[in-house]
Each structure stands twice: as C-alpha cells, then as structure tokens.
C-alpha cells in the first residue's frame, strides 16, 4: 500500500454511510489499522477497501472491529486499581448514589474490574456505572462478560497485585474455554452506544474512567473528550487515564489537577 495514500475519501465515506467518524483519530496508528483491515479483506489499499465496502456494506462490522482496537485486560496496571480502591472509592462513598462513566469500555474488562472493586468496598448497591462505546459488537461482549479462560491466570495476578480481597475466581464460573462473569456484577451497569467524537454529555458523574482510548485520537478530538469529561464531572470528581495518557498537552488541562502522578489519576477543579 502506498504509505502516502490519502485516507480522507475512505474516512468521509465511513462517516456518511455508516455514521462512524474517524477523521479526528491520530493518523499514524489509524493508518496501520486500516491497512490491516484492508489486508484481512484482501484489499490492496484504502481505495480498494472503500470500493469493497460500497459493494458489501455488511463488511463494515469487521472493519470497525479492526479500527476500534478492542484490546483490554482485567486490572490492567494494578497500581491504578490500588489507588482507585484506597483513595478514590472513599470519595465516591461520600455520595448517596455515586455515578461512574466508563468511556470507551470496549469489551468490558474495565467495567468488571471496577465493579469488583466497588463490591469489595461495599459500594456496589449504591453506585451506578454507565459503560459506553461506539462498537456495538464490543458492547455486546461487555454485556455478556465472557472471557477466554486462558487469560484468567494473568488477570488473577493483576487483581491480587491491585489489592484484591480474595480470589478472582469467586466472580466467574469457569468452563473449558471460558470464564463467565457473575451477572450480579453488571446489575447496576448501563451499557450504551456513545461516541466521544460526536455525542454530548448525558449525566453528571463523580468519576470517569477512560483508559487507553484517547491514545487513538488526534489532539483536537482528545480536547473534545477532555471537555466532555470536564462537563460531566462534578467538582472534585475523578478522571482515571491510561498509563501513558495525560491532560497536560490539552487546553483543557486547566479543568483538572493531578491527583496521583504515577497512575494517571486526575481531579476536576
């Protein structure tokens, strides 16, 4: 594929035909993922992919899955979840009905991690979680809460390292190939379609988790997302980002203060 090929026509087509707007995504990594999507469908370049999609729009699902990178883990970055448990949950507990937004929840690993922490800290009957994503297939998987059993050993280690109070296996039923998470963990989770690129704020929340989502956005789109989080969060509400993410390079940095540097926790000011 020609590395300088203009992705513009394909992105404009995906926006108008399928209502998915990737025009504000960070170009270098988006280009890699589009090339991979094209390769998997046997298309030589973005132009060929464009043409193929216009003939077979049903293929868009697969393209969407390649482009939106559903890569996640339970208790990814254990130190982050330790701060959540020890320093952020006590803040949430001061609200009668704390609300939490997991923005870009993908296949749900963060949602279940969060839900487990809330349960162990006695907040699960009061807290409400909004889990949103643009990818309907990822949302379905999040709602199902079924993960490859082969991943559980690593997830258990991360859970333990994050300060988990017991064994992760208490929260799922294992069969030969899958770990099926306890449905009670999602009793107070609302899964919904929401785009950080095009949709607005839908509720006031006390905490936003948006980890390793914004890294795929260009700067303007990141600014938009940080603006949404600033609008959604109540004063002193918490924003948790991924390990290499920061508000520092966004004009919206003035809406936040660093709460814990090592694990990328911010607080709305």
């Amino acid at each position: 594929m020609d590395p300088s090929e203009d992705l513009g026509p394909l992105l404009a087509y995906m926006r108008s035909r399928f209502h998915y707007d990737f025009t504000g995504y960070a170009e270098a990594s988006l280009r890699r993922r589009i090339v991979r999507a094209a390769e998997k469908l046997g298309c030589a370049d973005a132009g060929a992919l464009h043409e193929r999609l216009s003939r077979e729009p049903a293929l868009f699902d697969r393209v969407l899955n390649e482009v939106t990178v559903p890569v996640s883990e339970l208790f990814r970055d254990p130190a982050f979840f330790r701060i959540l448990r020890e320093r952020v949950v006590p803040y949430l507990a001061t609200f009668p009905f704390p609300r939490i937004w997991v923005a870009g929840c993908s296949t749900g690993e963060e949602v279940y991690s969060l839900s487990i922490v809330l349960r162990e800290e006695g907040l699960s009957s009061r807290a409400l979680i909004y889990a949103t994503d643009i990818n309907p297939r990822a949302l379905q998987m999040a709602e199902a809460g079924i993960y490859d059993i082969g991943r559980m050993a690593a997830f258990s280690r991360q859970y333990q390292a994050s300060g988990g109070r017991g064994s992760l296996s208490r929260y799922y039923h294992a069969n030969e190939s899958a770990a099926v998470f306890d449905r009670s963990l999602r009793e107070r989770v609302v899964f919904a379609d929401h785009s950080l690129a095009t949709d607005g704020v839908f509720a006031e929340v006390q905490m936003v988790l948006c980890r390793n989502v914004l890294i795929y956005f260009g700067r303007e789109l990141q600014d938009r997302a940080f603006g949404l989080f600033a609008d959604a969060l109540c004063p002193l509400g918490f924003l948790g980002l991924g390990q290499r993410e920061t508000v520092q390079f966004s004009p919206n940095r003035t809406s936040f203060r660093e709460f814990e540097e090592e694990t990328r926790w911010y607080q709305r000011i």
């Binding site: 590395p3 300088s4 960070a26 170009e27 270098a28 990594s29 280009r31 890699r32 993922r33 990178v69 890569v71 390793n212 914004l214 890294i215 795929y216 260009g218 700067r219 990141q222 991924g242 390990q243 290499r244 993410e245 920061t246 520092q248 390079f249 966004s250």
Partner: protein, 206 residues
C-alpha cells in the same frame, strides 16, 4: 573507523536533506550496542527515537541505564507529547511509539508486530511518514525481522538507513532482513555507527 567514502555518502545525502530526527531500533541483545552508540551522540537539537525490545510488564531501569551513558536526557513519551529535540525518546514497555505528522507522539497498544510491542517497524514507518528524507534510521542486532519493513519505508520516503553489519553482531536475523528489504545506504559495525552518529549530530547542536 568509518571509511571516508561512507562519511561522504552521508554528507551528500545530508546536504540536500539535513536530518530532523534519528530513529534507532534493536532487540534486547542490542542494549550493549546502545551503550557504545549513545556516548557518541553530540549534544544535538535532533530528537533521537529508540525502540528496544523488552518483555512486557518487566520493570525496566533502561531509561536510567541509557541516561548514564548519554549527554542527552533519556525519557519515555506520553501520548501526544511533542517530539522535542535534544532528547532521547525511549518507547515505553508494552506500548508502540509512533510519531504523527504534526510531530507529536502517539503511544498506543495496537497488536504486537513480530511479537514485539514496542515494535521497530511501527516507529520507523510512522517516522518515515513524519520526517520523510530528513530521517536517519538505524537497525541494530536482533533475533526477529522487526525493523526491516520499517527501514524499507524509510528508504521509500527518501530517508537514510544504516544497518549494523550482520557479520559483526551476535544477533543476525534483524540486520540481515533489513539489509535485504531496505537496501541501506550504509552497513557497518557498531564502532562505525558510533562514528557516523558523531558526524550526524556533530553539526546539529541547538
């Protein structure tokens, strides 16, 4: 030492395309080589972008280790951090490091390439697009083919590619693949690469 004709080859390239960045990639076995290369880098205004294959989730003291051998600060970038000069930018473990066209970093967790994250190909391809002929890319020893297609992209974009001579390194797969795929301008041992880095950075101080 570097034969004079190789230095001349670089100078001819740099005369029309003064370098804007240097990208270096190698596998874990090349950390020792970096210990030879980094001290040769003069205080420079260029960003130096480095990918070293490391195992994920392994706490790394590599920034401190490399920093102790280097006249420039060694840092790991955050996503969307400007790719400033006078800095050695080391890809964080378990992330790919890319440079966007507006010269900021993207630090992402896309799938590994050649079983590696960070991957040299991912850095080189993005840097080739961002810097074009003003990029100097260097492939060191390594046991996978990572780096070869990235180096080829750098050449395709008119950049300058240097590969560690496979005959002089313990880990030959990576430089051999890069030589085959990218037709580098220079293939030389690590002492030679160090001398070239001194030449490249010598005239570019801030």
């Amino acid at each position: 030492m570097v034969p004079a004709d190789l230095i001349a080859r670089y100078r001819v390239h740099a005369a029309s395309h003064p370098p804007s960045a240097i990208a270096i990639g190698g596998s874990a076995g090349s950390i020792e080589t970096l210990g030879v290369l980094l001290p040769a880098i003069a205080p420079t205004a260029l960003p130096i972008l480095v990918v070293v294959h490391l195992r994920a989730n392994e706490p790394t003291r590599l920034p401190e280790l490399l920093g102790s051998k280097c006249r420039l600060p060694v840092r790991m970038p955050f996503d969307k951090q400007p790719c400033d000069g006078a800095t050695v930018w080391l890809a964080p473990p378990d992330f790919h490091m890319l440079v966007e066209r507006d010269r900021v970093f993207s630090v992402v967790i896309d799938e590994p390439a050649h079983f590696s994250r960070p991957a040299i190909d991912v850095l080189f391809e993005s840097a080739a697009d961002a810097f074009g002929p003003a990029l100097v890319a260097i492939v060191l020893g390594g046991a996978s083919q990572d780096g070869a297609s990235g180096a080829a992209r750098v050449r395709q974009r008119g950049g300058f590619v240097i590969v560690e001579d496979p005959a002089t390194t313990e880990f030959t797969v990576m430089p051999t693949a890069a030589v085959e795929r990218a037709q580098p301008q220079i293939v030389i041992d690590r002492q030679g690469i160090a001398a070239l880095l001194a030449e490249i950075t010598g005239g570019t101080s801030a």
